[in-house]
C-alpha cells in the first residue's frame, strides 16, 4: 500500500537512477531525505557559535599588512556562503543578539549593548545582510563547473563586503565621528586589504566544506 509521506519527508529529485545488479537489473529506489527543522536550528546555532569563536580567537598578524585581522568577518561570510541566505543571516543575527545581550562573544571577549554606541556599529549591523547576499549569490552559482566554485564564492563575498559591509560601516562611522564623506572613506579603506584576504580564505574553506557535505550546496532552504 503506498503511503503519503509526512510533509517533512520529501523524496529528493533523482538526477540519474543507476541500476542495482543485485536487484536483478531493477532501478534502485530513490533516497527519501528527512528535511528537518531541527537540523536547521542546529546549523544556525552552531554557526552563530562559530562566528563567536572566530571573533574570540587571537587575531592573526599578516606580514605586509598594517592592521592585524580578526576572523570575525571570515566567520560571518562563511556562515552565509555555507548555510545560504536565510539560515546564514539568521545565524549572524543570533550571534549579534547574544552578544548584545551581554555574553562576551564580540572581538576581544567583549559583549553587551556598549557596541551600540561605538563607531564600528555599522559594520556589525551590515553583517547579517552581507552574509545573506553572499549566500544568495553562491546559490545562484552552484551549477557552475566545480573548479569555478571558489572564484564564484570569492565574488559573492566581495559583493557582500563592497556593496553592504563597507558602505554601511563607513556611513555609520562617519556619522558617529562627525566626519565628512571623504574622511570616512579614507578611514574605512584601511580594512579593505584584510577583507580581500579573508574572502579568499572563505572561498578556500567553503569549497572544502562543500566537498565534505555536497548536499549543503544542493539544498539551501
Amino acid at each position: 500500500m503506498p503511503v503519503a509521506p509526512e510533509n517533512d519527508a520529501v523524496p529528493a529529485a533523482a538526477s540519474r537512477v543507476p541500476v542495482d545488479p543485485d536487484a536483478g537489473g531493477r532501478a534502485l529506489p530513490v533516497p527519501v531525505l528527512r528535511s528537518s527543522a531541527a537540523t536547521d536550528v542546529a546549523l544556525i546555532a552552531t554557526f552563530a557559535a562559530f562566528v563567536a569563536v572566530c571573533a574570540l580567537l587571537p587575531s592573526i598578524a599578516v606580514p605586509n599588512l598594517a592592521v592585524p585581522i580578526t576572523l570575525q568577518t571570515f566567520g560571518v561570510m562563511l556562515a552565509g556562503v555555507v548555510l545560504g541566505p536565510r539560515r546564514g543571516s539568521l545565524a549572524v543575527l543570533l550571534y549579534l543578539a547574544v552578544g548584545l545581550a551581554g555574553l562576551p562573544v564580540f572581538a576581544q571577549g567583549t559583549g553587551g549593548l556598549a557596541v551600540l554606541g561605538k563607531p564600528s556599529l555599522g559594520y556589525l549591523l551590515a553583517f547579517p545582510l552581507a552574509a545573506g547576499l553572499a549566500g544568495l549569490l553562491v546559490g545562484r552559482a552552484r551549477s557552475l563547473p566545480t573548479r569555478w566554485l571558489p572564484v564564484a564564492i570569492f565574488g559573492a563575498c566581495a559583493a557582500g563586503s563592497l556593496l553592504l559591509t563597507h558602505p554601511i560601516g563607513i556611513s555609520v562611522m562617519g556619522a558617529r565621528l562627525g566626519m565628512g564623506v571623504q574622511e570616512a572613506i579614507a578611514a574605512g579603506a584601511t580594512f579593505l586589504p584584510g577583507d580581500v584576504l579573508k574572502n579568499v580564505l572563505v572561498a578556500v574553506v567553503a569549497t572544502a566544506v562543500f566537498r565534505a557535505f555536497p548536499d549543503l550546496l544542493q539544498r539551501r532552504p
Binding site: A4, E6, L28, P29, P31, V32, P214
Partner: protein
Amino acid sequence: MIELAGATVTAYTGTGHGGQQEILTILHPVTCTLVEQRVAVIGANGSGKSTLARLVNGLVLPSAGTVTVNGLDTLTHGAAVRRQVGFVFTDPDAQLVMPTAVEDIGLSLHRLDLSAAERDERARAALARFGLGDRAEVPVHALSGGQKQLLALAGVLATEPAVLVCDEPTTLLDLRWRSTVDTLLEGLDQQVLLVTHDLEAAARADRVLVVDEARVVFDGDPRQGVATYRDLMAVHR
C-alpha cells in the same frame, strides 16, 4: 514492537560528474518483527548497523518498504514515533544541547506539559538516579565523557520512551563507566535495541541481528549470532 517490512535504504554518494548524483544501497531489504526485550545488532564497521538503528526512530527513512513502531509508520508519523522511541548516540557531546545538566533534562521534559517547578524537580530526580545529583548546575562542557553519556541517557529516559535505541553508547567510555552504563541498560523495563561491538553484551541479549555489507545476514539466537559474526570476521579464539 518494531516491524521492518522490506525496509531498504539508499543514499546519494557525493556528486559525480556534472553535478549528477549516484545512488548506493546502504541497507538491502530487511524484514523482521522484533518483540524481544533485548535485541542486539552487531557487525563490522560500515556494515550498516547505525543505518538500521536510525531507521527505527525515523532519523533515516526507508527508500522502499516500511518501518513501524507499535503500529506507527516512521514515514507518515515520524514525530509520534520519536516520542515513543528514545535514541542514545555514540557521542554524547553532540546530543547535549543545553548549557547545564538540569536545563538539558528540563528540555526533554518540555513536551510533557509540566509546570516549570515540576519540570525542575523531575530533572533533578533523574540526575540523582544517575549519580549526577551534585552536577545539576555544572556547565555541560565541564563534565567528563562518562558523565556526559550518563546525562544523555538520563535525558532520554526522563521522557519514559516505550523503546530505547542505543548506537554504541559505551564505545567512548572507560571500563568503569562502560560497566555502569551496561548495568543501567540491562536493568531497564523498556524494549532496548542495542548496537554494539561488545560481543559479550550481545551474547546476553534475547535476539541478535548480524549486519554485513549492508545486509542482515543473521537473525536469531545470540550465541549463534556471535559465532556467525566471528566466522565472518575470521576471528577465532
